[in-house]
């Protein structure tokens, strides 16, 4: 089972410059753990000391913000596309 994760520029030094990586996981939480296993150091960029998603990080599953789903417990399945996106100013 594998999910594609789009990696934003500030995190690409952990993925060897890759824009997209494949990871395993059944929820966003387990996906973050798998990311960390393959790309050590990436988790603390995404999550704060308490393990929650940082204030200025947005995570989307197939285009939907996980805060409209089940946050870290949002289920993911084979073929889903996950994006990690920094917050953006208004316009």
């Amino acid at each position: 089972m594998s999910v594609r994760v789009r990696v934003p520029t500030p995190l690409r030094r952990f993925t060897g410059g890759a824009e997209e990586v494949s990871v395993a996981g059944t929820t966003i939480a387990t996906l973050v753990e798998d990311l960390e296993k393959n790309h050590p150091g990436i988790k603390e960029r995404i999550c704060d000391d308490e393990g929650k998603i940082r204030r200025f990080v947005n995570i989307f599953v197939n285009g939907d913000d996980i805060r409209f789903l089940d946050n870290l417990e949002t289920a993911i399945k084979d073929g889903d596309e996950v994006s990690i996106v920094p917050a953006i100013a208004g316009g």
Partner: protein
């Protein structure tokens, strides 16, 4: 002489060079420009500012450009209108409208942030500028890019008002309508910005872009005779302008342009159909829970405001507050401003007027202190919002007798209506 020394993360304080960067690599916090305030204090006096052309660039030492500004030489320095008829309507003593509905060249406060962003993008050597927008920003980027001779791509929700769309496409950018709301546009643009290497004014140029919003606050102070108002009401979408107005007031004190102890109370205004910041404010929470927008106030329909947290902080630090109003109240707000002060604003402005009314009625804003309402956009772009709420013209033949009959049938009116009961 440049007065900027670098960028720093607003959250963790990590330092970065002046470059097209926008988020901290460590914590994803937004980056903020660092100024040499001692140097600014030496160079920038009221006399120097007042001797310069009436544009936002008269405060250029407090803006993040290194050389001479190249874009937006006529932007900013919009009227601060002493709004006596609106004051009478609200029953308050001293009221002003800061009117960016007549900003040059595209009639919104965005001409400020874009002037700074594109000047900076040109310093960095970009040849293509872009933005994610609810309309006004796209209008401004398109116009300024045309004048600067830059390639331009704009990304907007596909269902925008016609005036907001044509208000961009007339300048000849490549315009892309996204099937979705602004938050969807934003997410896509973040990925496009990563891939294409353009100057996205509100993404990779964001630290410089947002600084342009300070000029709104500088002008309020200068136009009040170098003093600060006691209450300022600002609309909130993504959350750029409100914290920057607060910062502007602080900077003026820091560099010695303003004396005295007045600390303006700052209030945030949102539409009830998209009020994530107001929800957090009223709950006493720091956590902004995003919403799916549903309001006629499309220019402030941002359900996931990047700087919402800083809006909360600025409002609370100032001792201010905030409210949300319904679409019906927004339309009424547009009409009140038009019929008392002759200023036609878009729904974002109607929101700010209606929220001001609510805060005065609640007793949150006292009636005997100075108040500034921030009007950031123009109603001629969003006529769809009010088309069903205004009187249609009477249609007659070009015969005097027909007008005589019509006139006799009309109720006697004198000046434009002041009372709410007369608004419809």
């Amino acid at each position: 002489m440049s007065t900027i020394t670098g960028l720093t993360c607003r959250e963790c304080g990590q330092e970065y060079p002046i470059a097209p960067l926008h988020v901290c690599e460590t914590c994803f916090g937004p980056l903020e420009v660092v100024y040499d305030y001692d140097s600014i204090r030496q160079q920038l006096t009221r006399e120097v500012i007042e001797s310069r052309p009436r544009s936002l660039w008269r405060y250029r030492e407090l803006l993040p450009v290194s050389g001479e500004p190249t874009v937006g030489l006529h932007s900013g320095f919009t009227p601060l209108v002493k709004a006596d008829r609106l004051a009478a309507y609200f029953g308050v003593k001293e009221l002003y409208v800061k009117d960016d509905s007549v900003n040059h060249p595209t009639f919104s406060y965005k001409d400020r942030v874009v002037s700074v962003a594109i000047s900076k993008a040109m310093e960095f050597g970009f040849d293509t500028v872009s933005c994610a927008s609810t309309g006004n920003l796209a209008n401004s980027v398109s116009a300024h890019a045309a004048r600067a001779g830059l390639r331009c791509f704009i990304f907007i929700p596909a269902d925008l008002e016609q005036g907001k769309i044509i208000g961009s496409t007339i300048y000849g950018p490549r315009a892309v309508g996204i099937r979705g709301n602004y938050d969807d546009v934003n997410r896509l643009c973040s990925e496009i910005a990563d891939k294409y290497g353009w100057a996205f004014v509100n993404i990779n140029i964001r630290p410089y872009y947002t600084e342009g919003a300070k000029t709104y606050g500088f002008e309020i102070a200068e136009q009040l005779g170098w003093r600060l108002p006691q209450h300022v009401i600002v609309p909130t979408a993504g959350g750029t302008i409100l914290p920057k107005v607060a910062k502007a007031f602080e900077e003026l004190k820091k560099v010695g342009l303003i004396e005295g102890s007045v600390r303006p109370k700052i209030y945030t205004a949102q539409a009830a159909g998209c009020a994530p910041v107001i929800h957090a404010l009223h709950k006493g929470s720091d956590l902004i829970v995003p919403v799916k927008p549903n309001t006629i106030a499309k220019s402030i329909a941002i359900g996931n405001p990047a700087d919402g947290y800083y809006v909360l902080r600025a409002v609370r630090d100032s001792g201010g507050w905030g409210e949300a109003v319904t679409d019906a109240e927004i339309v009424e707000g547009i009409q009140i401003l038009a019929r008392t002060e002759g200023i036609f604003t878009e729904p974002a402005g109607g929101t700010t007027v209606a929220v001001t009314k609510k805060l005065i009625e609640q007793g949150r804003i006292p009636r005997n202190e100075s108040i500034v309402i921030c009007i950031t956009g123009n109603g001629y772009k969003t006529i769809e919002a009010v088309v069903n709420d205004v009187e249609s013209p009477f249609e007659i033949n070009a015969r005097l007798q027909e007008f005589d009959e019509l006139y006799r049938s009309l109720a006697p009116t004198t000046t434009p209506a002041l009372g709410a009961s007369e608004l419809h």
